[in-house]
């Protein structure tokens, strides 16, 4: 921790987040644990990928990272500061340094805002004033950075395609020159051709501006291409942390994910391992391993005892019977 450049930019320390739902007015209050005891360092200047299926808590983790949601248990430290300990004004100032790009470009821009308004809003919020000419110039430069024609500044969101809107989202995130950007499935609702464009843009911006990314995705193929490190989540918990994209996976769930990814190569068709069993409900978590019901290696121990995330070297896995 002595060298500030080697210290992680973001740290999750035993973070859990519960949501409660009530069945009707007099109904029983039920609690769902969306994120369950995640401890994770996000190294500076790297792309950390978080991959998992819907309901695995990856989007909740993204929001916990930026304190858009408060942790129920545990702490999130950004640049060493516990975000929950900050006063509202201090937290708002801190948000300059950590930004987010959202999944749905169609609803992430206020329909009443022109593209210029949307890109300039971060400055307005932080009381950074521009003369009209400066503002115009600044917006144009941000749009250019995101690969957009500066002429689009006068347009409204409904006049733009999904890919263009996502570029606006990126321009907005860059406005305040942040250190960390959380990318919450930024390409999930785009065509593959546009997805590849956006990923190329993000890679270029990262190397030019020295950004750190937390990249949330359901697409393991994409995560393996784009990220330096991969966190695999299942039912709210990190089950495996791969230190590099070519590290051999050790958790049976990661293997299932790998096998499910469709390669663009008809010569290498895979027989899909049949998954039996349903994903357990996050309202009633099993006492043992959450993946046991679908795992072909599951033993009695897996149903009874919850595996903890054990780190060997830089590789971490939470499994009683890890693969070799």
């Amino acid at each position: 921790m002595s060298d500030p450049m080697s210290a992680p930019i973001l740290r999750f320390d035993g973070v859990s987040r519960d949501f409660s739902a009530q069945n009707g007015f007099f109904g029983r209050k039920r609690t769902m644990r969306a994120v369950d005891g995640v401890t994770l360092d996000i190294p500076r200047g790297k792309v950390t990928g978080v991959v998992g299926e819907s309901g695995c808590g990856k989007s909740t983790l993204a929001r916990l990272a930026l304190h858009l949601l408060k942790p129920s248990i545990g702490h999130v430290y950004f640049e060493g500061n516990d975000l929950a300990g900050l006063k509202p004004a201090a937290l708002r100032r801190q948000r300059r340094h950590m930004q987010m790009v959202f999944q749905d470009p169609y609803s992430s821009i206020n329909p009443r805002f022109s593209i210029r308004d949307a890109v300039m809003e971060p400055f307005q919020v932080h009381g950074i004033r521009h003369t009209p000419a400066e503002g115009k110039e600044r917006a144009a430069r941000l749009l250019e950075m995101a690969g957009l024609d500066p002429q689009l500044a006068e347009h409204y969101p409904h006049q733009l395609s999904g890919g263009q809107k996502q570029r606006v989202g990126i321009a907005r995130a860059l406005a305040l020159e942040p250190n960390l950007i959380v990318l919450d499935e930024p390409t999930a609702s785009l065509d593959v051709s546009i997805q590849a464009q956006i990923i190329a843009l993000l890679a270029d911006l990262k190397s030019r501006l020295g950004l750190t990314y937390l990249f949330i995705s359901h697409d393991l193929g994409l995560v393996r291409y784009f990220c330096d490190r991969i966190v695999v989540m299942y039912l709210g918990a990190a089950v495996e942390i791969l230190p590099s994209t070519d590290a051999p996976h050790r958790h049976p769930y990661t293997r299932t994910l790998m096998e499910s990814a469709f390669l663009p190569d008809p010569e290498r068709r895979r027989a899909v391992t049949r998954l039996t069993g349903e994903i357990p409900s996050a309202f009633e978590r099993p006492p043992g391993c959450a993946f046991a019901t679908r795992c072909s290696f599951a033993s009695g121990r897996c149903y009874a005892e919850k595996p903890v995330l054990l780190t060997t070297g830089r590789h971490a896995v939470a499994c009683h019977h890890p693969l070799d």
Binding site: G163, D191, S193, Q197, S260, A261, F262, E267
Partner: protein, 322 residues
């Protein structure tokens, strides 16, 4: 003769021409992938084949669609109604919109059986349970009595497939059947569909934007771009030797295992809208190999290679140029 033969199909909505001379064919026991980005005309093709164009104010302006010897372009609506569901079934992208929230899923599969095969209530139920077993739905009896909201997305899509199968169709049109689902579930559903084609001798038209799905599931591929055919051919041939620059670019959009950082670039620009189709080859503004004739002349289809791929390009890529 093919089960389904689409020849030079052109479709307009109002005054706007959206499909321009699209051709492909599909046999029993075959999976044909219809691929392209949004705006390529994939879903419009599905609507045309289902005879649903009038619903969106569209009409066929030229070309023929023959299904098992029947000319679908001139088929009157009552006869089409008999065909839909019974011989041609549609599986749509969002299972939520295909299921009635106030009926149990079992009742909905039963209903499809009774409507199409004229079965008694008991026989329909037995048949539904049989179909659910075939689709590897665990605890079929329990699920038969549940409502859509009680089921996961993957389970709902399996119910929709069971409903499609209840009419014992010859042709299934699946429009992005797994786009809304998780990857592990997507793999299962695609596997189920492919097994059905092999076991029952169905024909499957698989509409998707994902070249990965095509590579894993299809026998043949037809690539559409901006309402026109780009390239049609056997899947192995298309992936090993794509001859249309668009096909090659589309395949290149999916990261491969061990792909070097910075090598995934996508396709510059975007699909033009129907109001602003460029002259000549519609792909030329995005094409890295565009020549002067691409800007003026519409490319005609030419047969390339031993696989018999048909390519609509003035300057098809050389074989081995992968």
């Amino acid at each position: 003769m093919s089960l389904l033969a689409v020849d030079d199909l052109s479709v307009s909505i109002g005054m706007v021409p959206l499909l321009d001379r699209v051709s492909f064919s599909l046999d029993r026991g075959e999976v044909l992938g219809l691929v392209g980005e949004s705006g390529s005309g994939k879903s419009l093709t599905a609507m045309t084949l289902m005879g649903l164009l009038p619903l969106i104010g569209g009409r066929i302006t030229a070309g023929r669609v023959r299904f098992d010897g029947i000319d679908l372009t001139t088929l009157p609506e009552p006869a089409y109604r008999d065909l839909r569901g019974q011989r041609i079934a549609l599986i749509s992208q969002n299972p939520m919109t295909s299921l009635d929230p106030i009926l149990t899923v079992g009742a909905q599969i039963d209903q499809a059986s009774r409507l199409h095969a004229g079965l008694s209530a008991a026989a329909a139920r037995a048949r539904s349970l049989d179909l659910m077993h075939q689709l590897r739905i665990p605890e079929a009896v329990a699920i038969h009595g549940q409502y859509p909201h009680q089921l996961s997305g993957g389970m709902k899509q399996r119910i929709v497939i069971a409903m499609a199968l209840a009419g014992d169709p010859d042709l299934i049109i699946a429009d992005e059947p797994t786009t809304a689902l998780d990857v592990t579930i997507q793999a299962q559903i695609i596997q189920i569909l492919c097994d059905l084609v092999a076991e029952r001798g169905l024909a499957l038209l698989l509409i998707t934007h994902d070249m990965g799905v095509v590579a894993q599931a299809c026998h043949r591929v037809s690539v559409l771009y901006a309402g026109r055919g780009a390239e049609t051919g056997p899947v192995h041939d298309i992936f090993a030797r794509p001859r249309h620059p668009y096909t090659k670019a589309l395949i290149g959009c999916i990261p491969r295992e061990g792909q070097a950082p910075g090598t995934l670039v996508g396709i510059p620009g975007m699909v033009p809208t129907a109001f602003a189709y460029p002259k000549g080859c519609r792909y030329h503004p995005r094409c890295t190999a565009a020549a002067p004739d691409c800007r003026t002349e519409v490319p005609a289809g030419s047969i390339q290679g031993v696989g018999g791929s048909i390519v609509f390009c003035h300057h098809p890529l050389e074989v081995g140029h992968v």
